[in-house]
C-alpha cells in the first residue's frame, strides 16, 4: 500500500493529461460550445451581456476543472470535511451579510463575480458524505450514531438554504445527500419509512411554505387557472417547446423567446429556448449528450479503486441527473416551478463553478483511479 501511494505520487504531468477521460471532456466541451450559441440566441442574435459573461465564465471555469483534476483524488478526500465546513461558514455568512435580490438573500459579492454558496454545497455535501461512508465500516452504517451524523450533515446546510429562501437548491442538496446514503448501504426500509412519513407530513410541510411557493404548486396542478399570472411561465414554456416540433424553428428563429414570451430564458428556462429552436431532435440530442456525461462519470466511479471516488462519482452522476430531471420536468410542466438551473447550459456563475469543480474531482478520480485511500 505504501508503495502504491508512492507510485501514484510519481504520475507525471504528461501521464495525468493522458489519463484524462477524453470522451467526457469532449462532451463537456461540446455542451459548453452549445451553451454559448444558445446564450447568443437569448441575446437576440447579438453578442451582448449574457453571451459575453457566459463565455468568460466558461473560459475561466473550464481550466479550473483541469486544475482541480490534477490534484490527487486523495487530496480531495483529505479536504472533504474541511471544504464542507468552509461552505457551511459561507452559508452562515450570506444568511447575515449576503446580497439581497428579489426577496431572497443567497449571494456574496466576490468583486469578480457574485458567489452563491448553496450551489457549492451541492458538491460539498457529496464530498463530505462520500468521505464519511468511505471511512465507516459497513456494519456501522445503520447504527443510530451514524444515521444521526449523516442526517445532521444533510439537514444543517438545508436549514440555511431554506431560510434564504431557496427551495429548489435545498431539494437538490437533500437529494444529493440522500443518494450517498442510499449508495452507502443505508437500509432500504429506512428509505421506505421516511418516504411514507414524508407523504403523511406533506400537508404540514405545505402549510409552512411561503405563499408564492404554495401558488407554484397550485399552478403546477392547473396552469390555466391564472394564465397571465402564476401560470404564465409554464404555459409559455410549453407553447415554445410544443411549437418547436420535430426539427425546431431554427437557430435564432424561436419566436417565443425572441419576442420575450419566455420568462427567465437565460437561466432556468434555457432548455425551452433550445427546444423551440432545435425541436425534438435537438432536445433528444442534448439529452444524449448529458447521458454520455453521466455514463462516463458512472464508469469512472466503477473503475475507481477507492470507495470515496466511487461514491463521489456515483453520487455526482446522480446529482447531475437530478438537476437535469428537475429542470426539464419543470419546463415541460411535469413538476412545479422550483428554481433549478440546467448544468452548464444555464447562465449563472456559481452553478457552473460547482459543476466544473465536481467534474474536476471526477477527472481526478479518473487520473488516479488506481489510487487506494485508507
Amino acid at each position: 500500500m505504501f508503495q502504491h501511494d508512492r507510485l501514484n505520487n510519481e504520475i507525471t504531468l504528461f501521464q495525468k493529461i493522458k489519463n484524462l477521460d477524453y470522451i467526457l471532456l469532449i462532451s463537456v466541451i461540446l455542451l459548453s460550445v452549445l451553451s454559448v450559441f444558445v446564450m447568443y440566441s437569448t441575446d437576440g442574435g447579438e453578442i451582448l451581456f449574457h453571451t459575453k459573461n457566459h463565455f468568460v465564465k466558461l473560459a475561466v471555469f473550464f481550466p479550473l476543472m483541469i486544475f482541480v483534476a490534477f490534484f490527487n483524488i486523495k487530496f480531495w478526500h483529505n479536504f472533504s470535511y474541511i471544504i464542507y465546513f468552509i461552505v457551511i461558514l459561507l452559508l452562515i455568512y450570506v444568511s447575515f451579510f449576503g446580497l439581497k435580490s428579489s426577496g431572497s438573500q443567497r449571494w456574496m459579492d466576490l468583486y469578480l463575480f457574485v458567489l452563491q454558496p448553496s450551489e457549492l454545497m451541492k458538491i460539498a455535501i457529496i464530498m463530505c458524505l462520500a468521505k464519511y461512508f468511505h471511512r465507516i465500516k459497513i456494519e456501522n452504517v445503520n447504527s443510530f450514531t451514524s444515521i444521526t451524523i449523516v442526517l445532521s450533515i444533510i439537514i444543517i446546510p438545508i436549514i440555511f438554504v431554506i431560510a434564504q429562501p431557496d427551495l429548489g437548491t435545498s431539494i437538490l442538496i437533500a437529494l444529493s445527500g440522500l443518494i450517498i446514503l442510499w449508495l452507502g448501504g443505508m437500509k432500504i426500509k429506512y428509505f421506505i419509512y421516511s418516504f411514507i412519513t414524508f407523504l403523511i407530513s406533506l400537508p404540514f410541510i405545505i402549510s409552512f411554505l411561503k405563499p408564492y411557493q404554495k401558488l407554484r404548486i397550485l399552478t403546477f396542478l392547473d396552469p390555466d387557472r391564472d394564465p397571465l399570472g402564476a401560470g404564465y411561465q409554464i404555459i409559455q414554456s410549453k407553447i415554445a417547446i410544443g411549437s418547436g416540433g420535430l426539427n425546431g424553428k431554427g437557430f435564432l428563429k424561436g419566436t417565443q423567446s425572441y419576442l420575450d414570451f419566455l420568462p427567465e430564458k437565460h437561466t432556468d428556462f434555457i432548455f425551452t429556448l433550445f427546444s423551440e429552436e432545435f425541436g425534438f431532435i435537438g432536445s433528444v440530442g442534448l439529452l444524449i449528450l448529458y447521458s454520455i456525461i453521466i455514463f462516463r462519470i458512472i464508469r469512472i466511479g466503477a473503475i475507481s479503486r477507492s470507495n470515496f471516488a466511487r461514491l463521489f462519482c456515483f453520487g455526482y452522476a446522480f446529482a447531475i441527473f437530478i438537476y437535469i430531471v428537475v429542470n426539464l420536468s419543470m419546463v415541460l410542466g411535469l413538476l412545479p416551478i422550483v428554481g433549478s438551473p440546467l448544468p452548464i447550459m444555464s447562465y449563472g456563475g456559481s452553478s457552473m463553478l460547482a459543476t466544473m469543480i465536481g467534474l474536476g474531482i471526477v477527472l481526478s478520480a479518473k487520473i488516479n483511479h488506481k489510487q487506494m485511500i485508507a
Binding site: 410549453k238 415554445a240 410544443g242 414570451f261 458512472i298 470507495n307 466511487r310
Partner: protein, 640 residues
C-alpha cells in the same frame, strides 16, 4: 483482511445500488423523452397555433367606401388621399418641445394640445396619436421639411371620403362621419368592420346604402412581442372597396338647378317620364358635406343650423307645400274622367263666388268672364275650379290624385326622411279631425289649398304621369341591375303595360279610363304656357325642340285678409315669411315629351314670375342633354 472484506462488501453494495439507480435513471429519461415527444410531435399543431396566436396581431384598417357615380359615370362621392400627422410617443425624445414645434408649424389650438397630452397618457407609448386628421398639402410639405427636427413624428397618407361637387348632391347623398355607439351596435356589418377613424353614412343614400358602400377592411398582420409592441409586418391583406353605385342623376342638370335656386329656398326635381329616372333632385339652400368629414367646427355648424332658409331640410322630399294651382290638371282630369264636365263646360267667373255666406275669391279680382276648361287652365281661373270641385266632390278627386302619386311616398324606402304628404277626403277628416267635411273645403282643395300637402317630388311625378299619357312610372334614383332603356320603357308603357323590374312581371299601369281626357289636360297645360294670356306665357320657348307645357301655382302660406286683398301689395312690401310660395310643374318637349319637372321657390311670390322662368332656363339644358343620356348605353350592372 476483515477490513479488506468489508471494503469489498461495501463496494458490492455500492455497485448493486448504483445499478438500481441506473435503471431508474433510464426510466426517468425515457419518461422525459416521451413527454418531449407528446409536446413536440403529437401536440405540435396545437402549440404552433398557440405560438402564432401569441406572436401575431391583426390590425384592421378602415375599409374604402365604394364610389357613387352619376348617370354618366362622374364620381360624385369618391375617395381622396388625405395627409395626416401621427406622433409615436415612445420615439419622441422631448415631448413638450415637439408639441411647441408642432403648435407653431400647424397653428394648433391650446385645446388640441391638451387633447394630445390626454391621449398620450391614455395610449400605450407605441400607439400613434393622430395630431391632425387632414393636413393641407403645404402643411404636409412643411412638416416633411422639418422632419429631421421632429423625431417621433410620422406623416401618414390615408384615404378619406370626398364629395367633389361639394354642396350639389348633399340632399341626395347625405354625408359620412364618425359613427356613434348606437350606430355601431345597430348594424352588424359596421360592428364587424369598425375601426377607429372609420366613417359611416349619416344621411341620405350614404346611410341607406351603407352595407353596399362600406367595403371590407384591409388587414395588416404584425409580429408583436410579449408586451404587444409591433416588431415587424408579416403580410398585408388588401380590403375590397365597397360596391360602386350608379345613380340616375345628371350632374350638369343638378348643378344648373343649384345655380337657378341660388340664394333662394326651394327645390327642383326633374324626372324621366318613362323610366322614372330622377335626373335631378335639388333642395336649396344646400351645404357642403365635406365639412362633416373631419368633424365640423361649432361655428360652421351653427351657421348651417341657424340659416333661416333651412339648408338642413331636404325640401324635395321632406318639404310639404300646398300645391296651389299646380293641382288643377288633376282636378280637371278627375272631373273629365268622372264625366262631371266636358270640354264645352263653361263657368262664368266674376272674380269671386259666394257659398253659404262665405266668399271664395279668384286670383283675378275682375274675373275671367265665361271660361271653358282650356281657358280656365290657361289663365288658372280659380272660380272655374271651385265650381268643378264642387260638382266633383273631394272623394272622387282624392281617388284620382292618389292614383297619380299624391299622398304617397315617391321613392319608397330610399330616404328615411321622405314625407308622405296628404291628399284629404271626407273619411280622412272624420277619422283624423273628428269633424264632418265642409263643402267650402272641397272648393279650396280644388285650387290646391287647405289640408292638401305635397312634396315637390310628388308634383314632379304627377306631372310625369300626365306627360307620358297617363301611365304609372316607378321613380328611381339608382340604376338597377336590369336597366330599361328610355325607348323600351316608352314602348311597353304605350302598350298599356309596364315591365316591373322588381317583380319581373308586366303590370297594367294605365291610370286613366279614357286617354282622350289626358290629352285634353295636356292641351290645356300647353295653352297655359304657349298661348297668349297663359300664366306662364312669358316663359315659353317657341322652338318646338324645347317647347314645353306647364302649370303655374301660387300657394298661400297664410289667409289673405280683406285689407291685404285691397292693398294688393308688391312682393317686396310683404314680409318674407308671409310671401306666397311660387310653384311650377311642366313637361317637355311638348311633342314626344321626355321629361317632367317641378319647381318650388319658397316665398318667391307668384308661380308665373318666380318659378316658370326657371323652367325656361332649365328645359333647354335638359333637352340638349337628352341625346347624350341616350348614348350612355353602357349600362353597368350594379347589384343593390
Amino acid at each position: 483482511m476483515i477490513k479488506f472484506n468489508s471494503g469489498i462488501r461495501k463496494t458490492d453494495v455500492i455497485n448493486r445500488r448504483m445499478f438500481i439507480i441506473g435503471a431508474a435513471k433510464v426510466v426517468v429519461f425515457v419518461g422525459i423523452v416521451a413527454r418531449l415527444f407528446s409536446l413536440q410531435i403529437n401536440e405540435n399543431k396545437k402549440y404552433l397555433t398557440l405560438s402564432d396566436k401569441n406572436r401575431i396581431r391583426e390590425w384592421k384598417l378602415p375599409p374604402t367606401r365604394g364610389n357613387i357615380v352619376d348617370y354618366f359615370g362622374n364620381v360624385i362621392a369618391g375617395n381622396l388621399k388625405v395627409y395626416q400627422l401621427h406622433i409615436i410617443p415612445e420615439q419622441v425624445e422631448n415631448f413638450n418641445y415637439l408639441l411647441v414645434r408642432l403648435k407653431n408649424l400647424l397653428n394648433l389650438s391650446d385645446k388640441r394640445i391638451a387633447r394630445i397630452n390626454k391621449l398620450k397618457a391614455e395610449l400605450k407609448p407605441w400607439d400613434s396619436i393622430i395630431v391632425s386628421e387632414n393636413l393641407s398639402w403645404s402643411q404636409f410639405v412643411k412638416i416633411n421639411n422639418y422632419l429631421y427636427d421632429l423625431v417621433g413624428v410620422k406623416p401618414v397618407m390615408t384615404i378619406s371620403r370626398n364629395y367633389p361637387f361639394n354642396d350639389v348632391y348633399t340632399h341626395v347623398l347625405g354625408y359620412v362621419s364618425q359613427p356613434n355607439e348606437q350606430e355601431i351596435l345597430e348594424n352588424e356589418i359596421i360592428q364587424e368592420r369598425f375601426v377607429p377613424g372609420m366613417k359611416i353614412g349619416k344621411l341620405g343614400l350614404e346611410k341607406r346604402l351603407e352595407n353596399h358602400l362600406i367595403g371590407t377592411n384591409a388587414i395588416q398582420r404584425y409580429e408583436v412581442n410579449a408586451y404587444g409592441k409591433r416588431i415587424n409586418q408579416l403580410e398585408h391583406q388588401k380590403g375590397e372597396q365597397g360596391s360602386k353605385i350608379r345613380l340616375t342623376v345628371d350632374t350638369e342638370i343638378q348643378k344648373a338647378c343649384g345655380k337657378l335656386l341660388n340664394e333662394k329656398a326651394g327645390s327642383i326635381s326633374v324626372m324621366d317620364i318613362y323610366t322614372g329616372d330622377i335626373i335631378a333632385m335639388y333642395s336649396s339652400p344646400s351645404y357642403n358635406p365635406n365639412l362633416f368629414l373631419f368633424g365640423i367646427s361649432q361655428d360652421e355648424w351653427q351657421l348651417i343650423r341657424n340659416n333661416p332658409l333651412k339648408p338642413l331640410l331636404n325640401k324635395t322630399l321632406s318639404g310639404l307645400y300646398s300645391p296651389g294651382s299646380t293641382i288643377k290638371p288633376i282636378v280637371a282630369l278627375s272631373a273629365l274622367e268622372n264625366k262631371v264636365i266636358d270640354t264645352k263646360f263653361k263657368v262664368k267667373c266674376t272674380g269671386k263666388i259666394e257659398l253659404y255666406g262665405q266668399t271664395f275669391h279668384c286670383w283675378k279680382e275682375k274675373g275671367h268672364g265665361w271660361v271653358s276648361l282650356k281657358n280656365a287652365m290657361k289663365q288658372s281661373c280659380d272660380t272655374y275650379f271651385y265650381e268643378v270641385a264642387r260638382l266633383l266632390g273631394v272623394d272622387r278627386l282624392n281617388i284620382t290624385a292618389e292614383k297619380f302619386g299624391l299622398g304617397k311616398k315617391v321613392l319608397g324606402d330610399y330616404f328615411d326622411n321622405e314625407k308622405k304628404g296628404l291628399f284629404p277626403n271626407t273619411k280622412w277628416k272624420k277619422n283624423n279631425l273628428g269633424k264632418g267635411w265642409v263643402l267650402g273645403e272641397t272648393l279650396i282643395t280644388g285650387i290646391g289649398q287647405g289640408y292638401i300637402q305635397s312634396t315637390p317630388l310628388q308634383l314632379c311625378m304627377m306631372t310625369a304621369q300626365i306627360a307620358n299619357g297617363g301611365f304609372a312610372v316607378k321613380p328611381k334614383i339608382i340604376v338597377d341591375s336590369n336597366p330599361i332603356s328610355y325607348q323600351d320603357a316608352k314602348q311597353s308603357m304605350e302598350s298599356g303595360l309596364l315591365f316591373d323590374t322588381d317583380s319581373e312581371e308586366l303590370l297594367d299601369k294605365k291610370l286613366f279610363k279614357n286617354q282622350r281626357n289626358i290629352k285634353i289636360v295636356q292641351e290645356a297645360m300647353f295653352a297655359s304656357t304657349n298661348e297668349r294670356f297663359g300664366t306662364s306665357y312669358k316663359s315659353r320657348i317657341d322652338d318646338p325642340k324645347y317647347q314645353f307645357a306647364g302649370k303655374t301655382g301660387t300657394a298661400q302660406v297664410k289667409r289673405i285678409s280683406k285689407r291685404e286683398r285691397e292693398l294688393d301689395l308688391e312682393l317686396e312690401q310683404i314680409p318674407y315669411k308671409d310671401r306666397d310660395h311660387a310653384l311650377y310643374v311642366a313637361y317637355g318637349p311638348y311633342v314626344n315629351p321626355r321629361y317632367a319637372l317641378s319647381i318650388i321657390v319658397e316665398h318667391g311670390g307668384s308661380g308665373s314670375k318666380a318659378a316658370a322662368p326657371i323652367a325656361k332656363k332649365l328645359f333647354k339644358l335638359i333637352i340638349d342633354r337628352h341625346d347624350l343620356r341616350n348614348k350612355q348605353s353602357n349600362f353597368e350592372r350594379i347589384t343593390v
